[in-house]
C-alpha cells in the first residue's frame, strides 16, 4: 500500500469515528454555512445603508429598515457562530476520547511481544501527542476548511451579483496569493522537517544527559557535554531562523496580495462608479466590494495553512491506526476457565524463540508435581525470564505444549491461568494510588484487615506505618519509595491473594539481607504446599529445590537435583564452585 493510500485509509477511518457524532457534525456545518452567509449579507446591508448617505442628504426612510435588519441578523450570527465553535469542539473531544480509550483498550489486548519490542516513549506519544494532533489539525482544520470554502463561494456569489467585471479583477489577482503561499509552504515544509529532526536530536541529548547527570558529574564530563550541546543548539539556531523566517513570509506576502486586490477593487470600482449613471454601481457597492475583497482573500491564506496542518494530522492519524491494526492476542472467549488448579505443571517438547533465527528454548520437558519447588539458575541474561514468560503465557510457545492441572494452557482463558499464579517480578511496579490500593491490586475487594495482614507477612507493615498517611498514603512509580520498599509491596500484593502456584523472579535481589531473611521465612510459609518457580541466587534455595533448571544463553543445559547435578560435574557444578571459590 502506498503512503497516499495509507493517508486516505486513515482519513476514512477517522471519519468513521467522527460519524458517531453525526448530529453535531450536521449542526456545526449548518451553523457554519448560516453564520458565514448571514455575516456576508450584513456587509451588503451596510453597503446599502451607506448608499443612503449622499451629498444631497440622508435617506432615513430607506436606511432605517436596513439597519433594523442588521440589528436582527447580528445576534443570530453570533448564536450560530457559538454553536458552530462549541459543536466542533465537542465533536473533536469526543473523538479524541474514543480514540484514546480505543488505543488503550487495544494495548491491554496486545501480545507482550509487541510492547516489549516497541519503545514505550513511542507508544506514549501516540496516545498523547498524535491524538492531540488529530484533534487540532484534522477536526479544527475541517472546520476552517469548510467555513473557508463557504466564505469564498458566498463572497463570489455576492460579488458577481453586484458587479461581475470587478469580481473578475478579484478572481484574477487571487491565484497570485495561492502561488505565493504554495512557494512559501514548500520552503517551509522542508525547513520545518529539518528543524523538527534537530529538535528531536536535541531533546534526546538533553533527556539523556540530564537523566545521567550523576554520571556526567562523576567523571567531570560537563564541559564536553556543553560543547556537544552547543553544536546541536547552533545547528538548530541556523535552521530555526530560516524555518521561522520562511513561515513568517506567509503573512506579509498574503497581506500584500490582499492590498493589491484592495487597490484593484478600489481603482476599477471607482472608475465604474464614476462612469455609472444613477442606479448603476454605487459607492455603497464599492464599500461592500472593499470589505468582500478582504473577506474573500482571507480564507485562501487560511486554507493553504490548513492543508499543511491536515497533512501532518493525517500522518498522526495513520500512526494511530497502525497501532490499532497491530494484531491482538488470540481470543479467549470460547476457552474454559481453569478451576481448582491442582498445582501440577507439565512442559512437553517445548520450543520457543523470540525471533525465528535464534532458537532459545529447545525441546524442554518438565514434569512438576503439586507442591514441588523448581529453581531456575544460570548467569545473567541466560533467559530465565523467558521461561516465566511462557508459564504465564505472556508469550506463546513456538511448538510443544504446556499443561496446568493437566489441561493445555492454550485451552483455558489467560486470566484464569494467570490467576492461579502469584508472581513477584524482578522489576517492581507501583501505580499512583494509595498503598492500600497498590497492595489490594489483585483483590480489590479485600478488607483493610486482610491488607494489613498481607503487609505484615511481607514485612511491609512497619515502613507503611511510618509513611505520612499509613495505608492511605498516595504513592507513585517515580519516587518516594526505595527499591526495597517497593519490592515489599509487590510481595504483599501476592501475599494477599495467595494463588496455588508461585513465580518469584529474583524477587529478593534488592532487599537488604536482614529483611530478606524475614521475607524468606514468609516465603517458606507461602510456598509450603504450593508449586513454585524461583529464579534463585541463594544457595540454600537452590539446594532445597526439587528440581533445578540450569540455563545458559537461553538454553536449558542441565536439569536435576543439586546432588545429581554436582555429580554430573557440568556447568552447574562449575557455577557453584566458582561461587565458593574465595
Amino acid at each position: 500500500m502506498s503512503k497516499e493510500n495509507g493517508k486516505k485509509g486513515a482519513l476514512s477511518r477517522l471519519l468513521k469515528y467522527v460519524k458517531r457524532s453525526i448530529g453535531l457534525v450536521v449542526l456545526s456545518m449548518v451553523c457554519a454555512a448560516g453564520s458565514v452567509l448571514l455575516s456576508l449579507y450584513t456587509t451588503v446591508l451596510i453597503g446599502r445603508a451607506v448608499d443612503c448617505i449622499t451629498a444631497n442628504g440622508v435617506d432615513f426612510a430607506n436606511m432605517t429598515p436596513i439597519l433594523v435588519k442588521i440589528a436582527v441578523i447580528i445576534p443570530i450570527v453570533a448564536v450560530l457562530q457559538w454553536l458552530m465553535y462549541f459543536s466542533t469542539n465537542k465533536i473533536s473531544h469526543s473523538t479524541v476520547k474514543k480514540l484514546r480509550t480505543d488505543i488503550f483498550a487495544h494495548l491491554q489486548e496486545m501480545p507482550l511481544s509487541y510492547i516489549d519490542a516497541k519503545s514505550h516513549g513511542d507508544i506514549l506519544s501516540r496516545v498523547v501527542n498524535d491524538v492531540d494532533a488529530v484533534s487540532e489539525g484534522l477536526l479544527q482544520g475541517f472546520q476552517q476548511l469548510f467555513t473557508g470554502v463557504v466564505t469564498i463561494i458566498g463572497t463570489l456569489v455576492f460579488m458577481i451579483s453586484l458587479n461581475w467585471q470587478i469580481t473578475l479583477v478579484v478572481v484574477v489577482i487571487t491565484p497570485l496569493s495561492f502561488a505565493v503561499a504554495g512557494i512559501i509552504s514548500k520552503l517551509c515544509f522542508n525547513k520545518f522537517r529539518e528543524q523538527s529532526a534537530i529538535k528531536g536530536e536535541l531533546t534526546g541529548f538533553i533527556d539523556e544527559r540530564i537523566g545521567s547527570q550523576r554520571l556526567v558529574k562523576a567523571f567531570g564530563f560537563e564541559k564536553n557535554a556543553e560543547k556537544q550541546f552547543d553544536e546541536i543548539n547552533e545547528r538548530l539556531n541556523v535552521c530555526g531562523r530560516r524555518a521561522q523566517f520562511y513561515s513568517a513570509l506567509t503573512n506579509p506576502c498574503t497581506r500584500f496580495v490582499n492590498s493589491l486586490v484592495y487597490a484593484g477593487v478600489g481603482i476599477f470600482g471607482a472608475l465604474n462608479a464614476a462612469k455609472a449613471v444613477s442606479g448603476g454601481f454605487s459607492v455603497g457597492d464599492l464599500s461592500c466590494f472593499l470589505q468582500y475583497a478582504n473577506q474573500y482573500t482571507k480564507p485562501f491564506n487560511e486554507i493553504s495553512g490548513v492543508i499543511t496542518e491536515l497533512q501532518s494530522a493525517l500522518a498522526s492519524a495513520s500512526r494511530i491506526f497502525a497501532l490499532l491494526d497491530e494484531k491482538a492476542e488470540s481470543s479467549d472467549e470460547e476457552k474454559k476457565v481453569l478451576e481448582n488448579c491442582d498445582g501440577t505443571v507439565g512442559l512437553k517438547d517445548v520450543y520457543f524463540s523470540y525471533v525465528p533465527e535464534k532458537p532459545l528454548i529447545e525441546d524442554l520437558n518438565l514434569d512438576v508435581k503439586s507442591g514441588q519447588h523448581i529453581a531456575i539458575v544460570g548467569p545473567t541474561g541466560c533467559g530465565k525470564t523467558t521461561l516465566i514468560n511462557l508459564l504465564m503465557r505472556f508469550y506463546d510457545v513456538t511448538s510443544g505444549e504446556i499443561r496446568v492441572s493437566n489441561v493445555p494452557i492454550k485451552d483455558i482463558t489467560r486470566n484464569s491461568l494467570r490467576a492461579s499464579y502469584g508472581i513477584v517480578l524482578q522489576e517492581t511496579w507501583v501505580f499512583k494510588g494509595t498503598v492500600r490500593e497498590n497492595i489490594s491490586y489483585g483483590k480489590p475487594d479485600a478488607e483493610l484487615d486482610e491488607v494489613i495482614a498481607a503487609a505484615k507477612a511481607a514485612h511491609a507493615h512497619s515502613f507503611i506505618m511510618r509513611l505520612e498517611n499509613g495505608y492511605d498514603t498516595v504513592i507513585t512509580n517515580d519516587a518516594e519509595l526505595s527499591q526495597g520498599q517497593r519490592q515489599l509491596l509487590s510481595i504483599a500484593r501476592v501475599m494477599l491473594s495467595l494463588p496455588p502456584m508461585l513465580i518469584l523472579d529474583e524477587a529478593t535481589s534488592s532487599i537488604d539481607t536482614r529483611t530478606e531473611m524475614k521475607i524468606q521465612s514468609a516465603f517458606d510459609l507461602m510456598t509450603k504446599g504450593r508449586t513454585s518457580f524461583v529464579v534463585a541466587h541463594r544457595l540454600s534455595t537452590i539446594r532445597e529445590a526439587d528440581c533445578i533448571l540450569v540455563m545458559k544463553s537461553g538454553h536449558i543445559v542441565e536439569q536435576g537435583t543439586h546432588e545429581e547435578l554436582m555429580k554430573n560435574e557440568g556447568f552447574y557444578a562449575e557455577l557453584i564452585k566458582s561461587r565458593e571459590e574465595y
Binding site: 462549541f86 492590498s259 471607482a270 494467570r418 490467576a419
Partner: protein
C-alpha cells in the same frame, strides 16, 4: 519575564529595527482607508479618472513598501527569537551542569528536560511575537482610533466604546479559559501517567488480570479530560461571537449616527468618510483578535520564564575552589572524621562515621538497603557536602580540591549502569583526550568485558544507542566498570556494581581489580564481594556498627554475622573464615 530581558540586549538592533519597520507598515496600512475615502469623495463625485488612477497607484506603492518593511521586520524577529532561544538553552544547560545533586534532587530530571525544551520554546515564540506584533496590534488599534477622531470626533466615541466593550468581554473569558486549560493540562498528564504505568507494569496488570480495571481507570481520566476540554471550549467559543456582536453593532452605529451627522452636516461627514470609518473598525477588530492571541502567548511565556528563572535562581550548594590543595602522600588516602549527613527529607542518613583507609588498601562497605552505603560514596565524591565532620583525601579536605581534580582522583562505578549515546570510545574516555585505545582495551580486560567487546565489528567505534540499549545489563555493567578503570584514578569506588554479573564473572572481576595498584572501596550486599577487603565497615541505619576484617567481624559484629548467615550456611562461614 523581565529577568530574561537581558537576552534581548544582544539583539538591540533587531529589537529596535524590527518593530520600527512594523510601525511603518502599520502607518501605511492606516493611510489606505484615507486614500480610499479621497477616491470616493473626490474621484467618484467629480468623475475624475486621472485622480482615481493616481490615488490607486499610491495604494499599490503603499502595498509594496509595506511588504518590504514587513519582510525586514520578519527577518529581524526570526533572527532575534531564535538567537535568544539558542543562548537561553545554552546558558540553561550550562547552569544545570553546575548544580549539585541536592538541587537536582529537588527539581527532578524530567522537569529539567521540559525547561530546556518546551519552556525555552515558549519564550522564543514570545520574543518573535514581541517584535512582530506587540507594536503593530496596539498601534493599529490606537492609530485607527486617532484617525477616527480626526475624521469625526463625535463618532470616535463609538470606537472608544467598542474597545472598552471588547476588553471587558475578553478579559473574563480568557481568565476562565486559562484556568480550565491548566486543569485540562493536568488531566492530560494523568493520561500519560496511566499509559506509562501500564506500559511498564504490563506484566503485573496481566498477572493479576486487571486489564478491565485499567481500562476503566484510563477511561475515567479520558472522560475527565474531555469534560474540561468541552467546558473550556464552551467558554472559549464565546469570544468570537461576542467580538462579532460588538464590531457589527459598531458598524451599525457608525452608519446610523454617522447618517444623522451627515444629514446635519456635523463634523463634515461624507459618504467616503463613513466608509473610511467602517474600514478602520475592521482594522481594529482584526487587530484585537491578534491581541487576544498575544495575551495567550504571553501568559504561557510568562509561566515558562518563571519556570526557567526558577532553575537559574538555583545556586549550587557546592562551590569549587580554584587552586589545588597540598597533598600529603603519606596521609591516609581517604579519611572520614565524625561525618554526619542528612538529605533534605530530615532523618540523618549518616551519623558520626569515622574511618581511615590507606593507599593501596581495599575497603568493603556492607549493610542493608537504606543503611547509608551509597550516601557514603556520594559524600566521598562530594556530590553532596557533609552536614557535619570532614572528609580528607590524601590529607587535604575535599572541599579544598577543585571539583574536576577531585573527580579525577576518584573514579566511581555507580549502581545504575549508564551509557551515553555516542561511540564506545567516547563512553570510555568521557571527553578525556589523554586516554589511549590501549588503555581502554586494558580496562576491558580487567573489567571482564573483552569477551564481548572483541566480537564487536566496529570495535571502539561501535555506536552506543541511547541508554545503552544495544548492550545487555551485564555488559553495560562491565563497560561502566571498564570506564572507571580507564580513567586511571587513584581511588576506585564500586557501588554495588556487579549485581547483574554471575558469580563466576564477578569473582574474576574482583580478582583482576584486586591486582590493580589502587585504593579500592567496594560496596555490596553480597558478603562474598567484600570478604577479602583489608577493612570492612558494617553500616546499619546510618551508623557504623562494625569495623574490621571478615574474621574479626564474624566474632564481634552481630549484624555482620547475621548478613553472612543469610548468604552462607554455618559450614560455609567456617570455611571462609579458614580461607581468609
Amino acid at each position: 519575564m523581565l529577568k530574561l530581558a537581558r537576552y534581548l540586549k544582544e539583539f538591540k538592533l533587531n529589537v529596535t529595527i524590527g518593530p520600527l519597520c512594523k510601525l511603518i507598515e502599520a502607518i501605511f496600512e492606516l493611510i489606505v482607508p484615507l486614500v480610499m475615502a479621497q477616491i470616493i469623495d473626490k474621484g467618484i463625485t467629480n468623475r475624475d479618472e486621472t485622480f482615481i488612477w493616481q490615488n490607486g497607484i499610491i495604494l499599490i506603492i503603499l502595498a509594496v513598501c509595506g511588504l518590504l518593511f514587513a519582510l525586514v521586520c520578519q527577518y529581524m524577529a526570526s533572527a532575534a527569537s531564535q538567537g535568544v532561544g539558542t543562548r537561553l538553552r545554552s546558558d540553561l544547560y550550562a547552569h544545570i551542569n553546575t548544580l549539585s545533586y541536592k538541587e537536582l534532587d529537588a527539581i527532578g530530571s524530567s522537569a529539567l528536560v521540559t525547561r530546556v525544551t518546551n519552556d525555552v520554546n515558549q519564550v522564543q515564540t514570545a520574543v518573535a511575537m514581541l517584535i512582530r506584533l506587540v507594536v503593530r496590534a496596539p498601534f493599529l488599534v490606537i492609530g485607527a482610533t486617532i484617525m477616527s477622531f480626526s475624521i469625526s470626533p463625535g463618532l470616535s466615541l463609538i470606537f472608544f466604546g467598542t474597545m472598552a466593550a471588547i476588553v471587558l468581554i475578553m478579559y473574563p473569558i480568557m481568565k476562565a479559559t486559562v484556568k480550565l486549560f491548566k486543569k485540562q493540562q493536568r488531566s492530560l498528564d494523568g493520561i500519560s501517567r496511566i499509559t506509562r504505568e501500564n506500559l511498564s507494569g504490563i506484566r503485573v496488570v496481566r498477572a493479576f488480570s486487571r486489564q478491565d480495571y485499567e481500562k476503566s481507570r484510563f477511561g475515567a481520566e479520558a472522560e475527565e479530560y474531555r469534560k474540561f476540554a468541552v467546558k473550556a471550549g464552551r467558554i472559549n467559543a464565546l469570544l468570537n461571537p461576542a467580538i462579532f456582536i460588538v464590531v457589527n453593532t459598531a458598524y451599525l452605529l457608525i452608519v446610523w449616527i454617522g447618517g444623522g451627522f451627515a444629514a446635519q452636516g456635523a463634523d463634515g461627514l461624507t459618504q467616503g468618510k463613513i466608509i473610511a470609518l467602517v474600514n478602520y473598525m475592521t482594522q481594529i477588530s482584526l487587530a484585537l483578535v491578534v491581541v487576544a492571541n498575544l495575551v495567550t502567548i504571553f501568559t504561557k511565556a510568562a509561566a515558562s520564564s518563571a519556570r526557567i528563572n526558577e532553575v537559574f535562581d538555583m545556586k549550587t550548594s557546592i562551590t569549587s575552589p580554584e587552586h589545588s590543595p597540598v597533598q600529603d602522600k603519606n596521609a591516609p588516602a581517604v579519611s572520614f572524621n565524625d561525618v554526619h549527613f542528612s538529605y533534605s527529607t530530615g532523618d540523618e542518613a549518616l551519623e558520626g562515621v569515622s574511618f581511615e583507609l590507606f593507599r593501596g588498601e581495599t575497603l568493603g562497605i556492607i549493610g542493608g538497603t537504606g543503611s547509608g552505603k551509597s550516601t557514603l560514596v556520594n559524600l566521598m565524591c562530594r556530590f553532596y557536602d557533609t552536614s557535619e565532620g570532614t572528609i580528607k583525601i590524601n590529607g587535604a579536605d575535599i572541599r579544598e580540591y577543585p571539583l574536576g581534580e577531585l573527580r579525577r582522583i576518584i573514579s566511581v562505578v555507580p549502581q545504575k549502569a549508564e551509557l551515553l549515546s555516542g561511540s564506545l570510545r567516547e563512553n570510555m574516555t568521557l571527553g578525556r583526550s589523554d586516554i589511549s585505545d590501549e588503555q581502554i582495551q586494558k580496562a576491558f580486560e580487567i573489567a571482564q568485558a573483552k569477551e564481548f567487546t572483541d566480537t564487536l565489528e566496529d570495535g571502539l567505534d561501535t555506536k552506543v544507542l541511547q541508554g545503552g540499549k544495544n548492550f545487555s545489563g551485564g555488559q553495560k555493567q562491565r563497560l561502566t566498570i571498564a570506564r572507571a578503570i580507564a580513567q586511571n584514578s587513584e581511588i576506585l569506588i564500586l557501588d554495588d556494581s556487579s549485581s547483574a554479573l554471575d558469580y563466576a564473572t564477578d569473582a574474576k572481576l574482583r580478582k583482576s581489580i584486586g591486582e590493580l595498584p589502587l585504593t579500592r572501596v567496594i560496596i555490596s550486599q553480597r558478603a562474598n564481594s567484600i570478604l577479602h577487603a583489608d577493612k570492612i565497615i558494617v553500616l546499619d541505619d546510618g551508623k557504623v556498627v562494625g569495623m574490621g576484617n571478615h574474621a574479626q567481624l564474624l566474632k564481634s559484629c552481630a549484624v555482620y554475622r547475621e548478613i553472612c548467615l543469610t548468604q552462607y550456611s554455618e559450614d560455609e562461614i567456617r570455611e571462609t573464615e579458614a580461607a581468609n
